[in-house]
Symmetry: C2
Amino acid sequence: MAEKSDEPTARKPRADAERNRLLLMETAKTVFADKGSSASLEEIARIAGVGIGTLYRHFPTRDALVSAIYRNETTQLAAAAKSLAETHPPVDALRLWLVQFVDYVVTKHGMSEVLDSLVGGTSELYADSADLIIGAVNLLVDRAVATGEIRLAMDPLDILRALAGGASISCGPAWREAARQLIDILIAGMRASR
Amino acid sequence: MAEKSDEPTARKPRADAERNRLLLMETAKTVFADKGSSASLEEIARIAGVGIGTLYRHFPTRDALVSAIYRNETTQLAAAAKSLAETHPPVDALRLWLVQFVDYVVTKHGMSEVLDSLVGGTSELYADSADLIIGAVNLLVDRAVATGEIRLAMDPLDILRALAGGASISCGPAWREAARQLIDILIAGMRASR
DNA sequence: ATAAATGTGGAGGGCGCCTCCGCTTATCAA
DNA sequence: TTGATAAGCGGAGGCGCCCTCCACATTTAT
């Protein structure tokens, strides 16, 4: 039905388009960092020196833009889960990864769109990023549960929601510290005591 | 410096103004419940049948409106802490109150403004509401710490942030359930095990 | 060189925010 | 009762942002 990607009819993607795409992501990244995720898209286009229409062509929604910017980091975070799982005992790995997760979220500042991705709710655009994170946390939790070191009668994702949500309220470095304590309490609470 | 409230020059507040104020709060409450806290203020004014200028006269910012609407419920929540403290053992009281807190937040739907009040950040308007909540949670935590039943090496407020933040991400009844589990884990984690 | 596909830019319609100020209405004093 | 006057009302209007749409420009392939 659809064309295969190596169909002979395929054309090389235009060079200028790719350049603009990168330029927009670069610009958006700094603007978002400066002004939070509610920064005006028109401003981003203006600073990047392209028309607003171009921005919308590449990123049909604000979410698409945000998501594109942070896909790399999300991938890295997911990868970290695997490597931690291989190099640390289950509970330690989980704890360390949760700390990294918080750092990841905190640096995203007010990026509620990214956080919303975790709900797995509406946005198709986030589906794959969300899957990465969900897979990561499930991997770590399952491992610790398998060894009997912790019990968990809830969706691990909800723990991430709490940690991420805290960041959305109390943004900045203060939450890093608080979250660290919180993680310790959670781990302690999840330890199978009997 | 400022006029005393019983200064002879004081005038009776106008009846129509008070009526409009109440009408606006009533309307806003239902509209916010329907459409979340991002509902248009102009729509609220329209539905209430008053001019937009009137809305802004009574509530100079969106926050002021939201805050006014929920002041009652916030007060009740704070009062619940005191009564729970008098009728339940420390840890039970804390757990029950946290559950109530989550319910309170969940029913506020997407009211990030209310949640922000907990940061004690910018908004002077929220200062007193925030103080009520902070006082409530501190009362309950201190009591449980005093009896030695729990230890807590962090600001109790940060626990509220996590619970409230989770609600802001995963809104609705699902979070009620998740939060309940989370509260149990937290309580377990805070119990002084040794 | 030329055709076709692809991408560009910005005008424009819609909406929400908030301010400002001429008009209305309630209160008070005479 | 009747002004006088403080208090309140309302909505037009300026601004900025969102997003769509399409005539025009640029790139690629032939």
